[in-house]
């Protein structure tokens, strides 16, 4: 397995991250992956409403948000967060269709990563999204 190396610039190092996903195993996976790039998970939630509340309270640098969740879905939660707090939100979704990606872009999220995720592809995509977000 190819792993990120210390020589590559790592914009996520030390960044505070909130993970919102209704699959516990995805939380386990993200904890492991984000630890490898020095990011800190400051909060986790299993649904959109709880997640939005956590984000607004914790004011993280990055939010990793699942799309399909019970109650408030990922897009609704993202919209609610962005209405009062400008943050890099990266959507995680099993839906690859362009219409969902366009919807996410319109709301103002800065990345869209299609499941299933693996460390090899997820971390570069997350870093790219965060890098693109920073200068705005």
């Amino acid at each position: 397995m190819q792993q990120p190396t210390g020589e590559v610039p790592n914009p996520l190092a030390g960044k505070r991250i909130v993970v919102i996903d209704d699959e516990a195993i995805t939380h386990l996976q993200l904890r492991k992956l984000l630890r490898t790039v020095g990011a800190v998970i400051v909060g986790e939630a299993m649904d959109g409403a709880e997640g939005a509340e956590r984000v607004l309270l914790l004011q993280p640098d990055v939010v990793i948000m699942d799309m399909n969740m019970p109650g408030l879905n990922g897009l609704q939660a993202a919209e609610q967060i962005l209405a009062s707090y400008r943050v890099c939100i990266v959507m995680l979704s099993a839906f690859a269709a362009e219409e969902y990606q366009e919807q996410a872009r319109r709301i103002g999220t800065c990345g869209y990563i299609v499941k299933p995720i693996t460390g090899n592809t997820f971390l570069p995509a997350l870093q790219a999204a965060y890098t693109k977000f920073q200068p705005l």
Binding site: E23, A24, I25, A94, P116
Partner: protein, 624 residues
């Protein structure tokens, strides 16, 4: 002629003398009129030049000859001359028109007046006759009559008092009266129903404005359509007319054919368009009103249970879809009976029809006819179509309605089938989307599992890790088997039964357990697909651990008690070390158990040892 003055004899004589002279002068000079006198014996006493010219006898030849000489043999035989003189004696004068004979035996038509001559005492002194040759006029009249009798049109003439003066033979059958009955009588007396009709106003207008009037009108007493042309004259009105009933009926039939064709076309177009069913049915009822003269028309469709006819379209007098007829139980009212009897109910006598319950309403609204059809598709009643009309409904219209009812029934069935297909398609689409989503989620689970076991800077992966992942894949696979079975019955699966899932999973685990035995006791319970997935992976993880750390058999129990489920997995063997602490002992396996049990299943996990030895893990979680 002069008048006598009995009051003054001298004056009277003078006047008489003057009159006689004047009369003499007139007699001699009037050439176009024959003027002659006849004595009381019926012999000619005087003869003017006009008489000589017309009758060709000289005065010398005719004087003293009997008046009968001037009559035709047949009139002589019939004593017409006596009749004339008798009439003149009794009434003072007798007018007549008849054939007379000239000296040479030739005949001419004479129009004349015979006047009785009396002296001062009133005694009859003789007769004066004035006649003129009216042969030309007679011939003209005869020619005119000949023409009028030969034309195909019916004709009659009225004088200014609206009395019949002439009726040709063609007019008799049309008026259904003989000329003898009508001549001399007032048209308005003989045909009183025509008073105040179009006939009356048109004839009066022709006379008043001296214009020709032309019109077509129906005369109910004769059940006949007439085409009339009335020409005014000084004498009255000449009326040509013909019976156009056949033409009118043909026109009406043609009009009805065209309307039925338009009805069929509109219904056909409405039913072939891809409109919603209610809109198609509404267009059909409106076409029944517009083209078939329905007072109102309605369509009901049978509900899915086949018990109630639901009003779906209504046009004409009533357009509402609520009220007592909005839901008609099958067998109730005439509409419900039509559905039961499965045959049309057609009536041109609504009043008195026992199936028309509200007779008072029908009479008040002037309803005359009713047509109701069951809508039958493939032998099944799918609805009822009905209309009321304020006039009788013809057979052709019934036929048009029957055709429309067939088309409506087919459409209702087709649209229902389309709706069912649409529903199935939508269910299928949801199912496909749901399935794709689950597959993607499970791929994500597997991907996460791989990362958890392998993403840590290692360059090699132990076979045991790959076997764990393989076991998790089998666990998910068993879940999909149950999903497939459930989908066949329910479409989109909202809940999965636990027992069949575990009864499929545990034998699979047994196959990889070697000589160790996996025993299980499993109750049934229902979990959401997501939580069932977590349970499946949890059981796999716990059993894998039990096999790995145990020395003999593994027992799996799944118990449901009300709203709580308890999963127990235990093994033979040393059990957990005395200082075992799941928090401090954290590893990937425990992390997975914790994630599935506490987060996905919202439960609790206890790690204990059995009194008889061996480890026991108890997971409690709420059922959905």
């Amino acid at each position: 002629m002069s008048t006598l003055n009995p009051g003054n004899p001298a004056v009277s004589r003078k006047v008489l003398m003057d009159d006689a002279e004047r009369l003499k002068l007139i007699e001699e000079n009037v050439r176009d009129y024959a003027i002659f006198t006849v004595d009381t014996n019926g012999c000619i006493a005087s003869w003017n030049l006009g008489a000589e010219r017309i009758l060709r006898y000289s005065e010398a030849e005719i004087n003293g000859q009997p008046l009968t000489l001037l009559f035709t043999p047949e009139d002589r035989a019939a004593n017409r001359h006596e009749e004339e003189m008798t009439a003149a004696r009794e009434t003072g004068r007798a007018e007549d028109e008849r054939w007379h004979m000239r000296k040479d035996g030739s005949r001419f038509w004479a129009s004349g007046i015979l006047t009785a001559l009396r002296d001062e005492s009133g005694a009859l002194r003789g007769y004066a006759k004035i006649l003129r040759d009216a042969t030309d006029r007679k011939h003209e009249q005869e020619r005119a009559v000949q023409i009028l009798e030969s034309i195909t049109n019916a004709f009659f003439a009225l004088d200014r008092d609206w009395r019949f003066t002439y009726i040709n033979k063609q007019a008799e059958p049309l008026l259904r009266r003989s000329r003898e009955e009508l001549l001399g009588k007032s048209v308005w007396d003989e045909f009183p129903e025509a008073v105040e009709s179009i006939f009356y106003t048109a004839y009066h207008r022709a006379i008043a404005e001296q214009i020709t009037v032309t019109f077509e009108e129906y005369y109910p007493p004769l059940s006949t359509w007439f085409s009339v042309k009335a020409y005014p004259s000084q004498d009255g009105l000449s009326i040509y007319f013909e019976n156009i009933t056949d033409r009118k009926r043909a026109e009406e039939r043609q009009r009805q054919r065209e309307r039925r064709a338009a009805f069929g076309a509109e219904v056909g177009a409405a039913l072939s368009r891809n409109d919603a069913l209610d809109m198609s049915l509404q267009t059909c009822t409106e076409a029944m009103v517009r083209h078939l003269d329905a007072a109102f028309a309605r369509v009901w469709t049978l509900d899915e249970q086949g018990n109630v006819l639901e009003l779906r379209a209504s046009a004409g007098l009533y357009t509402h879809l609520d009220g007592p007829h909005s839901r008609v139980p099958v067998g109730r009212y005439k509409i419900g009976m039509i559905a039961v009897e499965r045959r049309p109910h057609l009536s041109n006598a609504v009043i008195g029809d026992p199936q028309v319950g509200d007779q008072e309403w029908a009479a008040r609204e002037g309803m005359v006819a009713f047509a109701g059809y069951p809508l039958l598709a493939a032998g099944q009643v799918v609805g009822v179509m009905a209309m009321f009309a304020r006039q009788t409904i013809g057979e052709d219209t019934f036929n048009a309605l029957a055709l429309a009812s067939d088309a409506l029934a087919q459409t209702i069935q087709r649209k229902r089938a389309e709706a069912q297909i649409q529903t199935l398609n939508e269910r299928l689409q949801r199912l496909v989307t749901e399935t794709h989503h689950r597959v993607k989620n499970n791929l994500q689970v597997m991907s996460a599992m791989i990362d958890l076991h392998t993403y840590g800077g290692e360059t090699t992966v132990p076979i045991s890790e790959l076997q764990r992942i393989s076991a998790q894949i089998r666990a998910l696979s068993s879940l999909h088997d149950i999903l497939t079975l459930s989908s066949k019955h329910e479409g989109v699966v909202e809940g999965l039964p636990v027992r069949p899932m575990l009864e499929r999973l545990l034998p699979m685990l047994q196959s990889a357990a070697g000589e160790y035995q996996i025993h299980y006791e499993v109750d049934d319970g229902l979990l959401s697909v997501k939580r069932a997935t977590a349970l499946s992976l949890l059981v796999n993880e716990l059993v894998s651990n039990a096999l790995k750390h145990g020395t003999g058999s593994v027992l799996v129990r799944f118990r449901c008690d009300g709203h709580t489920a308890t999963l127990t997995v235990e093994n033979d063997g040393p059990g957990f070390p005395a200082d075992f602490d799941p928090v401090t002992a954290a590893n990937t396996g425990l992390d997975l158990i914790d994630a599935f049990a506490r987060h996905d299943l919202r439960g609790t996990v206890r790690y204990t040892n059995r009194p008889e030895g061996g480890a026991r893990v108890i997971v409690e979680f709420p059922l959905d």
